[in-house]
Symmetry: C2
Subunit: 525 residues, 2 copies
């Protein structure tokens, strides 16, 4: 490749790993096939008038066609807008309008969900094996497979620069409309590749090497499947794309294709562990804390893990790795506890713990403050959103992003992420970390999932409330005495014990697979 | 770091690995000490008027002061000119004048060698423990240690951009004056870091990880010690700098400091293997072919190797790695033979085999042609040398560099480097690869070093001549029948057998540690 432009990495991949496979449902492609299809698709997209700067929305699960669009749109210089299929319909349309989508590429998996809004967008491309599939009410409706078939096999059609915008996607805050973030080619490439470089340079559960077989369970709309869209082909690794497979189908696919490495949120891990055959893989997980109980269960099944921390507004920031000299055993031990709870900034990322005024707090491993992040791939702000940009990317501190998360940083460079600032409980002026309480509660054998939220309290300002989805009947007394034990073990202070324990049948999850604390807070206010 | 500027990587290194050590002779520094010394040095350099674009020559072996200058000059935006102490005096001065060196930083190790030219340069900084050391005849002569002591501990003094020039160094062709190449900050960083990423992503003898202890034996004037100047601190690895240690002192240092990873040319490997205690390390070697005999001897001592191919005019291009599914054993085997003979382009590098007209030849693993290289860090040409720039960086093929080396590329992406185009023998219109003949001859138990060169021949155009430095007395008949055996084994064609075998007491080596074939060709014409 001559510059840090996304599709330029394919040249080396094809010449070195041309026969390696991409498996997508029942479809098998080699990287050579994939490259040819992508070039043909690009030439057709160009013929349609899609060019540098055109914004194209894509609504699909993780499939080969979605992967093709990631590279074909790069070839013509268009901006890929990775649409979040977990957003409420109204928010989804908001993002399509806000980003300025001129074309929508729609997978047959999601045709139902967009039918109410078809008339609002003019140009549609249907991603399906069935080339005749159309949607009702669309002014123009083409087929992805037709475009591939009718396109010419040309390479390097357009002059794309690494500072051109490559993609736009939206982060779902718990309040207000989603915020859009646009990344340049070089940002997305560097940010994604540094993840796999970090995972290759260190001993860690999710250690990666080029011979791994990757299955990204993180949807591509989450930072392009946490970078796998790029670092898979970059390493020349076989990729297995699950589409909308159910957990048990995912496990079947893993076994059949020899998958060795996956990414997923803890909720997905929880679901996979329900399936007997799942185990003996390396995973990277994040998006929310990995509870001890879940970590132990995973390890007992041969699942080796790394914890990742980052976000749509900054890309990857840190991943847990073992301290030097520690070996990863097969039993839950100190090193696995460390891999669950603290991380190293990935190479090229600087992290700093700051107070509300932006002053650096001591990196002593104890002081808790807001986590600030700096890296070469940080955007300048949210797209067309100057006010919220100023809040998160403070002009007084150029090159820094305020994550809104609380954490501490040790003198020898370990980051512990404690809580979302707005999720933590401030009781009598002291922070109580709800993630810690949730982790401890999830260790109780009768607890399936636990969420802890702050509720207003006249005396203390706020107090913690625990919401429990039990495995089997459990009493508040049992839970309380379990927490008392943990106080005696020194893991929490007595004042951290929740005032109330509420048992529920289910706990709401956000579109990102996290506990929906905003909804819980509203319900229990 | 906010952009791809060299010294910006130190921030993360200090906050994560502040207590890791840099060992330089008898001196021990932590990265924290190193960072403070570097910042103080930079502030003094700035006070002296050294600023963006000032060219500063440095003549030193691999020491901590040289490492400091690599980062301090970055902080003030100056261009570091890494002077080649193996150049003949006249050529060295030529490079200093051609690059426009305004200051010379001179190690006490090299004071003698520059005394004839002191008066030609005005500003000198002496790098020595002895702060009072001066050189005769210098108009201005300061001490590195004084500058460190008197400087202020400031950080981020200047606004440096990643497209600013970071360094200049010269490549020594066998004809004509040395050619200068200037690299930008981002080129040097990306090019260097991709080496360690490649070594971390694959199974290979020189596999690297952050916990390795690095000892660069490649002098810093060779592409900054083949990138170790940057990827050592980037990984936060302990670094052991050998200064001008003899091979036996190097081995002592290795043992004492727990060195696990080194780089070196095959000649250095040859010398280290003479020392009993040397072994059980990982190495990256290159610059010339690794003969089978040497590879076997190394392996029998627990030295695991990777072969690297690249050059000053392009940075790193490829490194040998094991094919997937092959395990590196402890015995010489097929996989070690592959690691000795063929390579994968490093990530972000494209390689192509071309004919004299620049047309791509088949990548069939057999067709031999010139190796062309493309990468994001390729310079535009040689510094102030338009004619030779046009030859090597052809304007008709922008983004490509003609290496002048012959090789082949297999359909599944393996590069075999055969020979320098001008070193190969063209006999009756067919290429004879002198490196192959040298490798085979070095397998003979009575041969220490072998060089093969083309000599003019009336009938065939050219014919190979073998020049042998024997271990013990050996006859031409013995060598000839040894070669005949190799013909029967299918390793070479019969017409490859040299017409003559000349026994000599020593074989001349270039400043880069390679066989000096130019000199040999002149002697035997």
């Amino acid at each position: 490749m001559k510059s840090l432009v996304v599709h330029e990495l394919l040249g080396r991949t094809v010449s070195l790993f041309g026969e390696k496979e991409i498996v997508s449902g029942t479809r098998r492609l080699t990287y050579r096939d994939f490259h040819e299809r992508t070039c043909r698709l690009a030439s057709s997209l160009k013929r349609l008038g899609i060019k540098k700067g055109t914004v194209v929305g894509v609504l699909d699960a993780n499939t080969h066609r979605y992967l093709e669009l990631h590279y074909a749109l790069s070839m013509v210089g268009a901006v890929i807008h990775t649409l979040n299929f977990r957003l409420p319909g109204e928010d989804l349309v908001y993002t399509m309008v806000h980003a300025g989508d001129e074309w929508i590429c729609l997978s047959d998996l999601f045709i139902q969900s967009v039918s109410p809004v078809v008339s609002r967008f003019k140009n549609w491309i249907i991603m399906s094996d069935d080339e005749t599939l159309k949607i009702q009410g669309a002014e123009q409706c083409l087929s992805h497979e037709d475009l591939v078939r009718d396109g010419e096999f040309l390479d390097g059609q357009e002059k794309i620069e690494e500072n051109d915008i490559y993609s736009i996607f939206y982060t779902t805050g718990t309040t207000g409309r989603p915020k859009g973030i646009r990344y340049r080619h070089r940002d997305i490439l560097l940010g994604s590749l540094q993840l796999c470089h970090h995972l290759a340079l260190h001993q860690t559960g999710g250690r990666i090497e080029s011979s791994d077989v990757l299955m990204p369970l993180i949807p591509f709309f989450h930072i392009h499947g946490w970078g796998t869209v790029f670092f898979g082909p970059y390493m020349g690794s076989k990729m297995v794309l699950p589409g909308r497979a159910t957990p048990s189908e995912q496990v079947e696919l893993m076994k059949r294709e020899g998958v060795t490495w996956l990414n997923m949120v803890p909720t997905q891990l929880h679901m996979l562990l329900e399936i007997e055959d799942f185990g003996n893989v390396k995973i990277v997980t994040g998006g929310s804390a990995l509870p001890t109980g879940l970590a132990r269960r995973a390890l007992s099944r041969g699942v080796r893990y790394s914890l990742i921390y980052g976000g749509s507004d900054q890309l990857g920031a840190s991943i847990s790795v073992a301290p030097e000299g520690m070996t990863l055993g097969t039993e839950y031990s100190e090193v696995w506890e460390l891999l669950r709870t603290r991380m190293r900034p990935i190479p090229m990322v600087d992290i700093s713990i700051r107070d509300e005024g932006g002053n650096q707090l001591p990196h002593d491993g104890k002081t808790i403050g807001e986590i600030w992040v700096s890296s070469p791939w940080l955007p300048e702000g949210y797209y067309n959103d100057p006010e919220r940009s100023r809040e998160a990317y403070p002009p007084k501190h150029p090159g820094w992003f305020k994550t809104g998360d609380l954490g501490s940083f040790s003198p020898d460079g370990w980051l512990s992420v404690a809580d979302r600032q707005k999720d933590a409980v401030k009781s009598g002026g002291e922070w109580i970390m709800t993630t810690v309480l949730e982790a401890i509660l999830s260790e109780h054998p009768k607890v399936s999932i636990a969420a802890v939220i702050p509720v207003p309290d006249e005396r203390w300002g706020e107090r913690p409330l625990a919401i429990i989805k039990p495995r089997e009947t459990v009493s508040e007394t049992e839970l309380r005495s379990f927490m008392e034990e943990k106080v005696l073990e020194g893991r929490i202070a007595r004042f951290w014990i929740p005032d109330r324990f509420v048992l529920v049948e289910d706990i709401p999850i956000t579109s990102a697979g996290k506990l929906n604390k905003e909804l819980l807070r509203r319900s229990y206010r």
